[in-house]
Symmetry: C2
Subunit: 281 residues, 2 copies
Amino acid sequence: MRIGFIGLGTMGAPMARNLLEAGFEVGVHNRTRAKEEPLADAGASRAASPADAASGAEVVVTIVSDTPDVEAVLFGDGGVAEAISDDAVVVDMSTISPDATRSFAERIRLVDAPVSGGSEGAEQGTLTIMVGGDADDVGRVRPVLEAMGSKITHVGPSGAGQAAKAVNQVIIAGVFQAVAEGMALGMASGLDMDKVLEAIGAGAARSWVLENRARNMLENRYPLGFRVSLHHKDLRIALEAARRAGVELPVTAMVAKVEQGLVADGFGDEDMSAIARALRR
Amino acid sequence: MRIGFIGLGTMGAPMARNLLEAGFEVGVHNRTRAKEEPLADAGASRAASPADAASGAEVVVTIVSDTPDVEAVLFGDGGVAEAISDDAVVVDMSTISPDATRSFAERIRLVDAPVSGGSEGAEQGTLTIMVGGDADDVGRVRPVLEAMGSKITHVGPSGAGQAAKAVNQVIIAGVFQAVAEGMALGMASGLDMDKVLEAIGAGAARSWVLENRARNMLENRYPLGFRVSLHHKDLRIALEAARRAGVELPVTAMVAKVEQGLVADGFGDEDMSAIARALRR
C-alpha cells in the first residue's frame, strides 16, 4: 500500500519511520523540506508538496500543528485535495478542532485520528489513537494505524476522535496540576519525597503523571515529553469545544493560563510538567 | 499482643475486625458505645473509656474524625494518657494536623499512621499506611499495621505520616476534578463515553480515579467510597499545612470550596466523586 505522509515533526518523523519498517511504501513531505532527508535515507520517497504526496496514494496521513495548518495542507495551493484519488482516505493525526474536522470531512474523505503517548510512544509505535469517522474508512486505514499505535479505538463519527482527544488533554491538564500541587506541598513540608512517592504511588493518588512526571517536578528539570506550547494549543481547542458545548472547566482554564505564562516566559519548549514551576517558592 | 482500639467508624470497625482475625487480643471503645457490640460478638472485649482500652495494652490504635477528637481521646478525661503504660505505643491512624501530631508526640509515645484506600481497603486489609515516628516504635507496631494494610511505608519522623497523607489528599483532589472536567466535556460533546474511557484509559490520562470513579460521574450516582465531608476536612488540614509552609495550592483550594458547597447542599455523605455535580449543566 502506498501512503502519503505529511508532517515530519517530533511526532510525525518517528511515525513515518514505523510505517516504513512495517513495509509500507511511503512518500513524505514536510514544509521544511530538509526534514525529509533522514526519512529518504530510510527508504521513503520525497514529495515536493502535499498534492505530490497524495498523488497515487491510497492513504494520506497528516500530522501538523494546528487547525489552520491542516486546512492549508488539505485545501491550500498544492494541497492534498488537488491530487488525491476519489477512493483514497486522509487520516488526520494532528490535534485540531472537532468542529473544523467535521467541516473538512464534508469536503474530503477524512478520518480523524489524533494520538496520545508523546514522542516515546511515537518512536516505539505504542501510541494511543482515538479515531473518528465512517466505519468503512476506519476499517481501511486500520492496518496503517496499527503500525504506529498499540491502542486504536474507533470512538464514533467524524470529529469524535478529536473530541475524545480534547477530553484526554483536559484530564491530563488537571492531573499534572494535581501532582504539581502535591509535590510542592511535600517539598515545602520537608518530606523525603522518595518515601512519599513509594507510599502513595499504589493507592488512590496513582496516575501515569505521578509515575512518569513527578520526578521532573521534584528535580525542577523538564525534558520532553510533551511540549507546554503544544498542550496549551490543545487546551485552547478543548476550551473552545467546552464553550460551544456549554460546560465550564475551571481547572482546565487555570492550567491553560499557567501554560500561557510559561510560553511567555520562554518555557514553551519544556515538557508540560513544567507547570510545576508556577508553584515553586 | 493486647491492643486497645478506639474509634469504630466506617474505617475503624473493619480495621479492628482484621486485627481480631489476625489473632490479636483487642479491647474496643467507641464514643457511641453500641458500635462496640458487633466487634464484641466477633471476639473483642469492650472498654468503657479510652483509658480503659489503653490499660494493659501494648499498642493503642486511635482512628477518629479530626484533630480535637484525637486530643480528647488521648489527653481528655478518661483519656489514653491516664492509663497507658510507659512502654506502650499509640498508633494514631486518624487524618489530622501534622503540627498537632508533633505536639502530641511530645506528650505521649506516638506513631502517626494515617491511611488511604477507603472503606474497601479497610475491609480487605489492603490499606496504604503512611507512617511517621521513631524507627523503634514503628518497628514495634509494624505487625499490627500489617494486619490492616498491604502497603506500609515509614516516611520519616513524627508528623511525616500526616504530612504525606496531606500530599496524597491534595493530589486526589486535583485528579478527581480533572476526571470530572473530562467527563463533563465528553458528555456535553455527545461522545460514547464507554469508547472514550477505553481509548484514553491506558495512556497518559490513566489514574486510579479514572478507573474507579469516572463511571459514578457519568451515571451521576455517588455511592461510598470516601465521604465528601471527610475529604473536605482533610483538605482543610492540607491547606493549613500549605499556608504554614508558604505554598499556594490553587486547585486544592478550589476543590475544597466545591466540597464545602456540596456539604452545604446536603451531599456531604456522598462519595467525593460527587464533585462532578458542580460541572453538570
